[in-house]
C-alpha cells in the first residue's frame, strides 16, 4: 500500500508520506495525571465513600424491585372494592413494600461493599476470596438477626456462594 501511494505522483507523495507517518506514530506521549485526576481516582479508594455509594445503589435497586413486586399484590376483597379504593390500596402496598425492600437492599449493599473494601485493603490483593469473605459477612449479618448462629452460618455460606457466582458472571462479560 505504501509503495503505490508514494509512486503515484511527486506532488502527492510528501502528503501521503506524512499521512503514513502520522498513522504509524499516532502513539501519544505519556501524560502524567494531574493532581485533580489523582484526587478524583483516590476518592474511590476510600472505604467509606465506596460503601455509601454502594448503599445508595442498593437502595435504588430495592426501590425499583419493591415497586414492581408491590404492584403485583392483589387485595383479598377485590370484588367489593371500588376502583378508587383498589387504586389507593395498591399504591399503599407498593409504597410500603418498596420502602422496606429499599432499606434491606441498601443495608446489604453497604455492608457488602464495606467488608470487601476493608478485606481487600488488608490483604493487598485483588482476588475472588475478597468477594467470598464479604459475602459471608453480609449473609451472616443479615441472617443472624432472625436465625441465630446456625442461621448465620447458612446465610454466610449461601450469600458467599451467590456473590462469587455473580462476580464470575460479571468478570466473564467484561
Amino acid at each position: 500500500m505504501t509503495e503505490d501511494s508514494s509512486n503515484t505522483s511527486a506532488a502527492t507523495a510528501p502528503a501521503n508520506n506524512t499521512n503514513e507517518a502520522e498513522k504509524t506514530s499516532a502513539i501519544e506521549p505519556i501524560r502524567l495525571p494531574t493532581i485533580e485526576e489523582v484526587r478524583g481516582q483516590d476518592i474511590w479508594n476510600n472505604c467509606a465513600v465506596r460503601s455509601v455509594a454502594s448503599g445508595i445503589m442498593g437502595g435504588g435497586l430495592g426501590l425499583a424491585m419493591g415497586l414492581f413486586l408491590g404492584a403485583l399484590d392483589n387485595p383479598i376483597q377485590q370484588d367489593t372494592m371500588t376502583g378508587r379504593q383498589l387504586f389507593v390500596y395498591t399504591a399503599k402496598q407498593m409504597g410500603g413494600r418498596s420502602w422496606n425492600s429499599c432499606k434491606a437492599f441498601a443495608v446489604m449493599g453497604l455492608v457488602f461493599s464495606a467488608a470487601e473494601c476493608v478485606v481487600e485493603k488488608a490483604r493487598a490483593k485483588h482476588d475472588i476470596t475478597n468477594t467470598a469473605i464479604a459475602g459471608c459477612v453480609t449473609g451472616g449479618a443479615i441472617s443472624a438477626k432472625t436465625g441465630g448462629p446456625k442461621g448465620a452460618c447458612f446465610g454466610c455460606a449461601g450469600f458467599a456462594a451467590f456473590s462469587v457466582v455473580i462476580e464470575k458472571f460479571l468478570d466473564r462479560h467484561e
Binding site: C117, E120, K121, A124, K125, H126, E174
Partner: protein
C-alpha cells in the same frame, strides 16, 4: 574517591558535576529497580482493567514504603564507617 588525593583541595566545577552525575545515576537506578520490583510483586500479569484497583494500590504503597526504608537503612549502615557484622 581515590582521585581526590591527587587533585588540589579546592573543589572545582568538574568534580561537583561528576558527583552530581553519579548521584543522578544512582537515583535513576534506584527508581528503576523500585518500580520493577514493586510492579513484578504487586500487579498481576493478566490485565483485566486499565486502572489500579484497591488491592494493587495498597500493595504498591506497602512495597514502596518498605523498599525505601530498607534502602535508607542499608545506605546508612554502609556509610557509617562499616561496622563489622
Amino acid at each position: 574517591m581515590a582521585a581526590n588525593n591527587n587533585m588540589p583541595t579546592a573543589l572545582d566545577k568538574e568534580q561537583i558535576f561528576g558527583m552530581a552525575e553519579k548521584e543522578m545515576e544512582y537515583r535513576v537506578e534506584l527508581f528503576n529497580n523500585l518500580t520493577q520490583t514493586c510492579f513484578a510483586k504487586c500487579v498481576e500479569k493478566r490485565y483485566k482493567e486499565s486502572e489500579l484497583n484497591m488491592g494493587e494500590n495498597s500493595c504498591i504503597d506497602r512495597c514502596v514504603s518498605k523498599y525505601w526504608q530498607v534502602t535508607n537503612l542499608v545506605g546508612q549502615l554502609l556509610g557509617s564507617g562499616r561496622p563489622p557484622m
